[in-house]
């Protein structure tokens, strides 16, 4: 002991250094204590690494010692609340249980996209999304102001605290992820992002077109037509945007080479305002006017910001944003009033102005800055002209993609979607009609219907007494998308499991499609599909009749939009979804609107041509046809279109 130094001999400790040291220790211990807390929900803390009990008290799970000096075994399998086995007053067990139940056995979960984590009271959906590694878009720092983090609550909505003022504009199932706080962590909460990326066909092979964009460079200046926009910064970019009611496609194009640099498709974020055009119009006319416009602008900016980062360009390199969309979508994008489109005669203000001579064209031009779009500060936003009523710039864009202006024989374009549009004719005479099909083939109204996302059944065949199917992504089925529904209906007819009127054999209420996964089709679903199909049928049948051509005289039937690219033509013809045109005359053009948008971005000439062409198109109002109702009822039947009976 004589070597031992006294405390005084030791070097004093510096207070600041000690406090830093203590902070490091606290950090290590805090992680341990936090983990201990979490683990206590699943495992008795008195149980050591060898599953032996270290508790000093009696417990119902304690089992005999294996050796006299050893610790007793623990018989708990950790599935039940271990605390109830602890030595305690019998009467208090129930009280304990009820107090522990919310955190133990019935621990709730939050799930999204097949992933789930434990629900934590007081934390937001956004917090849980972080846990799940689900990326929720936001640009306001989760303050509830940007309205980008809208999520659809699929289950457990009652476990959330009531909506905040910031969320007042949202409908029932929708919440802002940053505002929705979990109140009851004992429930299972499921949510989905509005911007799931659907499987969308993006044309892989581009047609070669003459490069003649509006945005050009002359020496060190950038021009839009004759107007000077900016000093040349080294590159010229443009954006072609197809705004669909359900899906949007954004393409970034190098205006100097004509090359597409990036294409991204994503869900239209306006779903909280309804899934079809008419509900969106009435939503925008209500108390929350402007929210739909804000949502789409913010989403556009978020997506474009990500693309710029990935491609490595600056927003200042983007000089033009060309927008195509049905009339409502286009006007909402431009922040215009859409109320007149919702009432007879279903014309936008722009179309009215055009018709009464106040404007020469229905195309739109606005500055990107005014619309708060991410682009060069002088960039131009161009809205492709609409055709008439609901038949918008997306169809005009389709016509560009199929080069309608050059066709001499009658061709028919069917752009399948929530609103199906049909254009029939040739360069000399053109007719167009809009058919409000509704969302039944796109995931709405049908119980197990879903958009063309991963997990959707996309094709169906009846084999050996049951349905064989394929899903997108090859995963377990969650539902059926449009092409799968068309196949399914055709197979039900082929096997006579369903009558043309949609009655199932033996008056069954539903048909099992993927029994092991609970995916079924009900009578009600069939009836929704019949009506949606009838809208498609009416558009084609009435237009052919007015134009005076029979299906066999149609030289080409172009199928465009949404799921049309995946549809089996024979199935579609068999149920009367498509006119009976020989299969070799049917051309699937994928997303024609997006393709046409890219061409319009790159060619002034095409812009001029389509601007003139749309003015010649006769718009047919289907509902004003005298026998519309008879044709509609005929169209509700699942059977091929009988041309002779329509004459």
């Amino acid at each position: 002991m004589k070597h031992r130094k006294s405390q005084k001999g030791r070097k004093p400790i510096n207070r600041a250094d000690y406090e830093e040291c203590l902070a490091r220790l606290s950090d290590v211990l805090r992680d341990i204590a936090t983990h201990a807390d979490e683990q206590a929900l699943l495992r008795c803390p008195y149980k050591n690494r060898f599953d032996r009990c270290t508790a000093q008290f009696a417990c119902g799970y304690k089992r005999a010692r294996q050796t006299p000096e050893g610790l007793p075994c623990c018989a708990s399998d950790d599935h039940l609340d271990y605390r109830t086995a602890w030595e305690t007053d019998p009467a208090s067990v129930d009280v304990m249980r009820s107090q522990l139940s919310s955190t133990c056995e019935n621990a709730g979960t939050v799930s999204c996209d097949g992933r789930s984590c434990e629900a934590i009271t007081g934390k937001t959906i956004f917090h849980h999304a972080d846990e799940l590694d689900v990326q929720v878009p936001t640009s306001c720092g989760r303050m509830g102001t940007c309205h980008e983090c809208i999520v659809e609550i699929r289950s457990g909505a009652d476990a959330l605290a009531s909506r905040t003022d910031a969320e007042a504009f949202l409908g029932d199932a929708y919440r802002l992820a940053c505002q929705a706080v979990i109140e009851d962590a004992g429930k299972r909460i499921g949510f989905e992002l509005l911007r799931r990326t659907p499987k969308i066909l993006i044309a892989q092979e581009y047609r070669c077109i003459e490069l003649e964009p509006m945005v050009t460079r002359q020496d060190d200046k950038v021009y839009y037509g004759e107007e000077e926009l900016d000093t040349y910064r080294g590159q010229l970019y443009g954006v072609a945007l197809d705004v669909g009611t359900t899906t949007m496609v954004l393409e970034l194009v190098d205006l100097e080479t004509g090359r597409s640099r990036y294409v991204e498709s994503f869900e239209n974020p306006q779903r909280f305002g309804g899934s079809d055009i008419m509900t969106r119009i009435s939503y925008d006319g209500g108390h929350y006017n402007g929210e739909l416009h804000t949502a789409i602008v913010n989403t556009f900016n978020t997506v474009l910001r990500g693309i710029c980062k990935r491609v490595g360009i600056s927003r200042h390199d983007i000089y033009e944003i060309l927008v195509v969309g049905n009339t409502t979508m286009r006007e909402l994008f431009f922040g215009l009033d859409v109320q007149s489109i919702g009432q007879k005669p279903y014309r936008s203000k722009i179309e009215q102005e055009y018709l009464n001579g106040a404007r020469k064209t229905t195309s739109l031009r606005e500055s990107a800055r005014k619309l708060r779009l991410l682009a060069n500060r002088n960039a131009v936003v161009f809205g492709v002209p609409i055709i008439a009523s609901h038949v918008g710039g997306d169809i005009a864009s389709d016509l560009v993609a199929i080069d309608m202006a050059a066709s001499t024989e009658p061709v028919m374009l069917v752009d399948v979607g929530t609103n199906t549009e049909v254009v029939l004719g040739h360069s000399g005479r053109l007719m167009a009609a809009s058919c409000p099909a509704g969302p039944a083939f796109e995931g709405g109204l049908v119980r197990y219907g879903m958009p063309g996302c991963v997990g959707a059944i996309e094709s169906v065949r009846w084999r050996g007494g049951k349905f064989d199917y394929e899903t997108i992504g090859g995963v377990a089925p969650e539902g059926i998308c449009g092409s799968g529904l068309i196949d399914l209906l055709a197979e039900l007819r082929r096997t006579e499991l369903m009558t043309p009127k949609g009655v199932f054999r033996n008056k069954a209420k539903e048909i099992e499609v993927a029994a092991e996964h609970g995916v079924t089709l009900s009578r009600r679903d069939a009836s929704e599909l019949a009506q949606a199909k009838a809208a498609n049928f009416c558009g084609q049948a009435i237009l052919m009749r007015q134009f005076g051509v029979s299906p066999s005289e149609i030289s080409k039937l172009y199928l465009s939009g949404g799921f049309a690219n995946y549809v089996s033509v024979s199935s579609a013809v068999e149920i009367g979804f498509l006119a009976p045109v020989a299969e070799d005359r049917v051309v699937k053009i994928g997303n024609g609107a997006a393709q046409g948008a890219r061409e319009l971005l790159l060619s002034r000439k095409k812009r001029e041509t389509i601007g003139e062409l749309v003015k010649q198109i006769e718009h047919v109002e289907l509902e004003t046809t005298p026998d519309f109702f008879e044709v509609f009822v005929e169209g509700c039947q699942f059977k091929p279109m009988d041309w002779n009976s329509l004459q």
């Binding site: 005084k8 030791r10 490091r24 606290s26 803390p45 690494r49 000093q56 030595e87 208090s92």
Partner: protein, 253 residues
């Protein structure tokens, strides 16, 4: 960047190889251990293994050899607890093992405390901790004590089944002004209230602050029985203890 072979202590080497799975983390730990002296590696190993007698002896020896107190704390005690944390997080060890490591750490800290006070650094506060009368559950309380000690508090642990008299005796003996009580049974929860009443009867209530916790205890219950604060878990316990210490310092300067 050091390699596993650079860590001379064989026990640490084995531990790293066996329990640290993630490459980046493994490298970080290898770098940490390779950089510290052999005697510190030995202390870290003893912490990880929960050998408190060894930690006690080796810490004393190191300080006798003029190793700086903070070096012992950083390179021996904290370095050891860091791996304990990783093993616990990845479910290689559980709470009983962690508490054994915490006990070993305390044995080391016991030699550092006198140097701290000689340097004029007082504990953040002094806390009496115990599970109330009739209750034998101590894990939650022990985790709280681990956290409190790791945050610079001096803790007097009265263990389980602590009678009101034991609490009063400890407060008088140590001159503490903060008492933490834990209960895990609804049947023993009222004993928290009885303890506080005993302090009132002994005319000591104004000298101390009470914080309470335990699975069945709630904020409302804490208020009802007249406690000064409630802590939901070990992390909150430290925050509460700091707050109450600051409050009583302003009352009794």
């Amino acid at each position: 960047m050091a390699e596993l072979g650079d860590v001379e202590n064989e026990f640490l080497c084995n531990e790293l190889e066996q329990y640290v799975e993630e490459e980046v983390e493994k490298q970080r730990m290898v770098d940490l251990y390779a950089a510290i002296s052999l005697s510190m590696q030995a202390i870290a190993a003893a912490i990880i293994d929960g050998r408190h007698h060894d930690v006690d002896r080796m810490t004393r020896e190191a300080l006798d050899k003029d190793v700086q107190a903070l070096e012992v704390m950083d390179d021996g005690l904290i370095a050891g607890m860091a791996l304990v944390g990783i093993k616990f997080r990845d479910n290689f060890i559980f709470v009983p093992e962690v508490l054994a490591c915490a006990r070993a750490m305390k044995a080391g800290m016991a030699h550092i405390e006198p140097i701290l006070s000689a340097s004029g650094i007082d504990p953040v506060g002094k806390v009496i901790m115990g599970t109330v009368k009739g209750d034998l559950h101590d894990i939650g309380k022990n985790l709280c004590i681990m956290m409190l000690r790791g945050s610079g508090f001096q803790v007097i642990d009265l263990g389980v089944d602590t009678s009101p008299d034991d609490f009063i005796g400890a407060v008088e003996e140590h001159g503490a002004n903060l008492v933490g009580m834990s209960a895990l049974l609804t049947t023993t929860m009222p004993n928290m209230g009885r303890t506080i009443e005993a302090f009132i009867d002994a005319d000591l209530r104004d000298d101390v602050k009470f914080m309470v916790g335990g699975a069945p205890v709630t904020e409302e219950f804490a208020e009802e029985l007249g406690a000064d604060a409630y802590g939901a878990d070990a992390v909150e316990c430290v925050e509460v203890a700091k707050r109450l210490t600051a409050e009583s310092a302003s009352v009794h300067p």
